[in-house]
C-alpha cells in the first residue's frame, strides 16, 4: 500500500489545529490504527510547531509544507519550511540533538535523561529540547533533517504504522 498527502499551511499558530485534523483524517482513511494515529498526530504537531517557531517566513508567499507518505507499514512525515543563515546555530544544535537521540536503541534513555536535564533548567528557558525526545519516545519515530540548496529546512520523521 502506497499513498501520500501534501498539506500546505500558513505559518500561523492557529493553523496547526487544522493540520492536525487533516493529517489525522488522512491517516484514518488509510486504515492506520488508533494508537498509531495518536502517535503520528503528536509527531506531526511537534514538527509543525517547530517549523512555525524557527522558520523564516520573509515573504507572505512562504508556507509550511507537510508531506505524509505511507509505504507498506512505514509512515514518513516531512515538514518543510524556509530558513535563512540566522538559524544555522539552531540547526547545529538540532543536528547534535537528533544524533544524540538516535544514538540510543531505546529512546527511553534519551527521554529520561532529557527530563532530568529539563528539571534543572531555569523556569524561563523555552529551549527544553523535550519536543524532539517526545517525538522519538512517545511518537516512536526516527528523526532526521537536511537544509536544501535553496535554504529550505526539511525535517523528516519515520514511524511504523
Amino acid at each position: 500500500m502506497k499513498s501520500s498527502i501534501k498539506l500546505i499551511m500558513k505559518p500561523k499558530w492557529d493553523e496547526i489545529e487544522k493540520i492536525r485534523n487533516k493529517s489525522s483524517n488522512f491517516l484514518v482513511s488509510q486504515g492506520i490504527s488508533n494508537n498509531s494515529i495518536q502517535a503520528l498526530t503528536m509527531v506531526i504537531s511537534e514538527l509543525v510547531e517547530n517549523s512555525v517557531k524557527y522558520g523564516k517566513f520573509l515573504s507572505p508567499k512562504n508556507t509550511v509544507i507537510i508531506n505524509i507518505h505511507i509505504d507498506e507499514n512505514i509512515v514518513t512525515t516531512e515538514v518543510i519550511n524556509p530558513v535563512d543563515n540566522t538559524v544555522f546555530k539552531h540547526l547545529k544544535k538540532l543536528d547534535k540533538t537528533i544524533q544524540w537521540i538516535r544514538g540510543f536503541q531505546n529512546p527511553l534513555e534519551a527521554y529520561t535523561e532529557r527530563l532530568r536535564v529539563v528539571s534543572k533548567k531555569p523556569l524561563n528557558d523555552e529551549d527544553s529540547g523535550l519536543g524532539l525526545v517526545r517525538i522519538a519516545y512517545e511518537g516512536k519515530a526516527i528523526l532526521d533533517f537536511f537544509v536544501s540548496e535553496d535554504n529550505f529546512l526539511n525535517v523528516s520523521a519515520l514511524s511504523n504504522s
Binding site: T76, E78, F88, L91, K92, D95, K96, Q99, W100, R102, G103, F104, Q105, N106, P107, L108, E109, Y111, T112, L115, R116, S119, K120, K121, P122, L123, K140, I142, L143, D144, F145, F146, V147, S148, E149, D150, N151, N154, S156, L158, N160
Partner: protein, 474 residues
C-alpha cells in the same frame, strides 16, 4: 553570576520564631550563614524552613540543619537540608528550586519496563549474568595467579590464557549470541527496544569493563560510530585492564559487521588506486577525491604507499566531527613524514545535513573524480540520504565515480550491535539503496557487497557526456 556570591537576606523559621540571617552561596548543596541580632545556635540545631528573598521573589526551602564551623568572616557555619536536598547553584544562578531527589522522578518509568520483558528473556539474561560472573572470576583468579611475574612473562602467560581458555570463552559468547537470536527473532521493533534496554541494564558491569563496548554505549562524542570506535575496529586487538576485559573487548570486533568495516577500507583503497591507473588525465593534474564523513580516513594510508602516489591525489576530507578531522590530519602528517613529501589535503568541518545549503559547496569545492562515503548513509533517513546523494552526484566530474556504503538489512550482527553495543543503524535493501539515486539519469549504477556480504556499495559512474534529459542534475 557574581552577584549571587554576595550575602542574601533570609529567615530561618522554627515554630513561631523567625530568625534573621545572611546566607551566602558556598557549595552546590550548602549555604554559609551568619546569624544576625546576636543570635547563636548549637551545632546540629534544626529549623523547619528557610525563606530567601532574592531578585524580588521569595523562595521557601524545607527542613534544614545548622553545622557549626570555625568562625571566619563572621560566618557561624553552614546550613544543609535534611529532608529535600536542594541544588543551591540552580537556586542562586537560575532561580529554580531543584531537588536532588528529582533524579528519582524517572524511576517508575524505568522500573516498570521490566514488566514488558518476556519470561524466556528474563531467564536468558539471568543465566548469562551468572555465567559471565563465573568466567570473570576464573580469569581474574588466573590474572592474580601470575601477577607477581615480570611484565614480559606476565604478558606471555596472559596471551596463552587468551589463546586457550580465552578462545573457549569466545565460543561460549558466540553460542549465547545464537541463543539470544532464537529468543528475540519474532520480537516487534518496540519489543527489541525494551529488551535491549533491559539487557544493557542487567549486563552493564560487563559492558563497562570492555573499552569498545563502553564507547559504543556511552558515545562520548554524542553519536555512534565515531573515529575512535572505527580505529578500534581496524585495530581488532585485545584491549583492557584484565584478561576478561580484553576478551570482552575483542569479541564484538570479531563479528561479521566489524569484518565488513575492515573489508570496506580495503575496497576503497583498491578503487582509488585503480582509478589512478585508469585515469587519462594530464601528468600534472591530480585526481580530486572527496571523502564524506571521513572519520580518521585510515584508508588513505593504504593508498599513499610511495612519494609518487602522494603527487597523484588531492583529497578533500569532510566530517562533522572536528576531532575526527584532527585524527585524519595526524595520520596524513605521519604519512608525509614517513615518505618525506607533501600531500594535497583540504579539511572541511561540516555536517552533511547542513552542507547542502553551505555557500562553500557551490563556490569552493568544485568537482571531483571520485567521491566516497563508507559509514554515513547508515544514519540517514531516505529523504536526507536522497538529497545528499543527489548533491554528491552533482559534485562529480563527467566520467567521475562515486562509491557509497550502507549495511544490508540482513546484517547478522544486527542484534549483537543493538543489544550489547546500543548501536542502531538504518538498514537498507538493494532496492531501497538504488532508489536513493532516482534523480541521476546520466549515471551507470551497480551494486555490490564486500566479502562478508553485509555491507552494500552503490557504485555510480557519471557519464562523460551528460544526456539531454539530465539537465536537472548538471
Amino acid at each position: 553570576m557574581n552577584q549571587n556570591f554576595v550575602e542574601i537576606k533570609a529567615n530561618l523559621i522554627e515554630g513561631k520564631t523567625t530568625i534573621p540571617i545572611d546566607v551566602k552561596y558556598t557549595s552546590k548543596y550548602s549555604f554559609l550563614i551568619r546569624f544576625l541580632n546576636s543570635n547563636s545556635f548549637k551545632n546540629g540545631a534544626e529549623f523547619s524552613k528557610l525563606i530567601i528573598q532574592m531578585n524580588g521573589r521569595s523562595f521557601e526551602l524545607g527542613r534544614c540543619q545548622f553545622l557549626s564551623e570555625p568562625n571566619i568572616d563572621g560566618y557561624a557555619g553552614r546550613l544543609i537540608f535534611i529532608n529535600d536536598i536542594y541544588d543551591i547553584e540552580s537556586l542562586m544562578f537560575d532561580n529554580k528550586i531543584v531537588r536532588l531527589q528529582n533524579a528519582c522522578l524517572n524511576l517508575p518509568l524505568i522500573l516498570n519496563l521490566k514488566h514488558n520483558i518476556a519470561e524466556s528473556f528474563h531467564k536468558y539474561t539471568a543465566n548469562l549474568t551468572y555465567d559471565l560472573s563465573v568466567y570473570k572470576n576464573l580469569f581474574d583468579n588466573l590474572d592474580a595467579e601470575y601477577s607477581k611475574e615480570p611484565e614480559h612473562i606476565r604478558n606471555s602467560l596472559q596471551q596463552t590464557v587468551i589463546n586457550t581458555i580465552g578462545r573457549e570463552f569466545m565460543g561460549f559468547l558466540d553460542d549465547k549470541l545464537l541463543e539470544l537470536e532464537q529468543i528475540i527473532r519474532n520480537f516487534s521493533k518496540d519489543q527489541h527496544k525494551d529488551h535491549g534496554f533491559y539487557f544493557r541494564k542487567q549486563l552493564w558491569n560487563t559492558i563497562i569493563c570492555a573499552p569498545f563496548m563502553t564507547r559504543t554505549n556511552l558515545k562520548p562524542r554524542g553519536y555512534a560510530g565515531d573515529s575512535d570506535m572505527m580505529s578500534m575496529i581496524y585495530a581488532n586487538d585485545y584491549r583492557g585492564n584484565s584478561t576478561y576485559s580484553k576478551l570482552m573487548h575483542k569479541h564484538p570486533l570479531e563479528q561479521p559487521a566489524a569484518q565488513a568495516v575492515r573489508n570496506r577500507r580495503k575496497i576503497i583503497a583498491k578503487m582509488i588506486r585503480n582509478l589512478n591507473k585508469d585515469s587519462n588525465r594530464g601528468n600534472n593534474k591530480k585526481l580530486k577525491i572527496l571523502s564524506v564523513a571521513c572519520g580518521p580516513a585510515c584508508e588513505i594510508q593504504d593508498v599513499l604507499i610511495s612519494t609518487k602516489d602522494c603527487k597523484k591525489f588531492h583529497f578533500v576530507l569532510l566530517d562533522q566531527d572536528r576531532t575526527a578531522l584532527y585524527e585524519a590530519a595526524r595520520l596524513i602528517d605521519h604519512t608525509e613524514k614517513k615518505l618525506d613529501t607533501k600531500i594535497a589535503v583540504d579539511y572541511l568541518n561540516e555536517s552533511v545535513r547542513t552542507m547542502l545549503a553551505a555557500p562553500f559547496l557551490k563556490n569552493k569545492l568544485g568537482q571531483f573524480n571520485f567521491i566516497y562515503s563508507m559509514g554515513l548513509f547508515d544514519y540517514l533517513l531516505p529523504p536526507v540520504a536522497s538529497a545528499v546523494i543527489g548533491k554528491l552526484y552533482q559534485l562529480l566530474k563527467p566520467g567521475g565515480q562515486m562509491l557509497i556504503g550502507n549495511f544490508h538489512v540482513s546484517n547478522p550482527s544486527k542484534y549483537y550491535m543493538e543489544y550489547w553495543l546500543d548501536w542502531a543503524i538504518y538498514y537498507r535493501t538493494e532496492e531501497d539503496f538504488k532508489s536513493l539515486l532516482m534523480d541521476a539519469p546520466s549515471a551507470d549504477v551497480d551494486l555490490f557487497f564486500e566479502d562478508a556480504g553485509i555491507q552494500m556499495f552503490l557504485h555510480v559512474k557519471k557519464k562523460s557526456k551528460p544526456d539531454f534529459d539530465s539537465k536537472n542534475i548538471q
